[in-house]
Symmetry: C2
Subunit: 384 residues, 2 copies
Amino acid sequence: MEIKFSERAKQVSNTATREILKVTEKPEIISFAGGLPAPELFPVEEIKAACEAVLNESGEQALQYSTTEGYLPLRQAIADRMEAIGIETTTDNLLVITGSQQGLDLTGKLFLDEGDTVICESPTYLAAINAFKTYNPNFVEVPMDEEGMIMEELEQTLQASPAAKFIYTIPDFQNPTGRTMNLERRKKMVELANRYNMIIVEDNPYGAVRFAGEALPPVKHFDTEGRVVYLSTFSKIFAPGLRLGWICANKALLEKYVAFKQAADLHTDTFAQRITAKYIELFDMEAHIQKIKAVYLSRREKMMECIKSFFPKEIRHSAPEGGLFIWIELPEQIDSQDLFDECLKNNVAFVPGKPFFPNSARNNTFRLNYSNMPEDRIVKGMKP
Amino acid sequence: MEIKFSERAKQVSNTATREILKVTEKPEIISFAGGLPAPELFPVEEIKAACEAVLNESGEQALQYSTTEGYLPLRQAIADRMEAIGIETTTDNLLVITGSQQGLDLTGKLFLDEGDTVICESPTYLAAINAFKTYNPNFVEVPMDEEGMIMEELEQTLQASPAAKFIYTIPDFQNPTGRTMNLERRKKMVELANRYNMIIVEDNPYGAVRFAGEALPPVKHFDTEGRVVYLSTFSKIFAPGLRLGWICANKALLEKYVAFKQAADLHTDTFAQRITAKYIELFDMEAHIQKIKAVYLSRREKMMECIKSFFPKEIRHSAPEGGLFIWIELPEQIDSQDLFDECLKNNVAFVPGKPFFPNSARNNTFRLNYSNMPEDRIVKGMKP
């Protein structure tokens, strides 16, 4: 049987990364590969209480179909969170989505025809690359340094690609590098977007998990023309299994997102939305986030110590003040895939850098995750 | 600001139907419009027990990221359900999705390039039309009678459109007509698909809710070449708010579905999957479905009585043996939109037929839902 796939389906394949992550799920592996939160911090008892309250108070509504936009009290709680970080918004500008990953897919749908250009950081989040790739765009990678995307490089890219559809950025504790864009560049990015009529897609899953240094306002804080689409999620501060994210965007954009969301899965899990809203009502989410930060700080400290003690001096690494990842740069001639193969023989895993580059990869790089392993296993896995 | 949308986004709009459904959510409205299950039948207490058991036994796993394919014990329970209706399958051929609506979107992604042809029943499910429309196909509608899609018409369509990508069918208690495809036609459809190298997408959300007559094997039961993609859901037999559906397909197809699912939302809500698996383990889902059937049968009986007593004799209607909907055909010259406007003045709503036809609508039709209204309100709403 010859199957008549779409052009996009002919190009999709089970990624090498997916295979890597499958290998690393084995319990004997010390994995610095995935981007998983520490499950021992999940507020299981509190969620049990929230489930019971929701089912007692509104069982019928909690299990029924609901509106595409999302549960209003949850959207209000999200609006409050947004205001606290410097984004003035109302529930009318918020759409609850099935994890912020869905925001990436919907963004591709909204903006990308085949051959369109996406401007992104180099490297960038691999599952964003995969989501956008569904719509067959070209990627233009803008170089970064430790302060985030370099604005002179971005401006040259905008001049060279004026028809590009959007700039995709993860300004806080970027995946995979852990780097944070500095304040001046945030302002500059909006200024450039205004000048070149560009949409900015600000993906911010990690911003709430800052455990050191000063918080910076999100890029959307500087948005005067409604051209920043802001994506975030409860996955890193509450429970990723519930698949709850959100989009904050101006009305002309949000209406299209709502229409595509409805076609994609009607609406986000009603029960998960109500559990989360109830948790926020009954418990102290900020106190819970403080606990997460304290643990991730210790784990990052431990991993940085190990890098300093055990890694050769010529290796470069990022020094994240939050989030889940450290980025390693090896000398040019070393391929991190070879290193991966070696480490796996010793039951240690990470993600080689290649899949984070949409075009030509810098193979001497890799990503380390510290949030998902206790300190003793970090030491055991990092030690030569 | 001029936004550079994709071509598909320029065409999408908030559908008239969505606006209708919003109006009908007001509590004073007697609504025969939506396709909502009866919420008073949701097993709220049992779900509470399932939540507690899941969080006690495996809280950390239930709230964590999980595999794209879905929770294995749930896939096993689905495989058992499939076997009971005559589809031999294993968990390897099953993917858990965010409601069967997501299966429609992923099907569009998998098969449809711009201008491709989808063959469907006339009329057909409006949210399937919307999901496929995202990928800008053409629709060819095949006429139905009370026994489902007419096979002679299908064969002519296949001859005229040999490059069509797939046949979309809802064989059991079709949405919107409530009609069921007879046994001979099911066999014939597979035979034609084999001869014309066509994929069949069998959408079967209602098959488990048969309250009269003899169950028929699904179209996929007759599939010898792995060309039937079967979609179903827990929404009509358990709780739609949890957004749990599944795809059963051969491996070459399922791998692509998995890759696109991962790009779309990583995986389906872990907690919802485990709650449902636990419910199936602890309680008797079949007994629960029997309760649903008994209530829907009474409501359909009541609505049929009302049609006989109150509607003019020249009106034609379907007589479903299951599912949620009755289809009404008015004399040619009457536009059901006018009737809708009249009824809404009296706080009664339904869905005019137009959005169920992807091309040229038969405006003298409309859809009635009986599952979501108690009998006294059915009588009140149907009475002149």
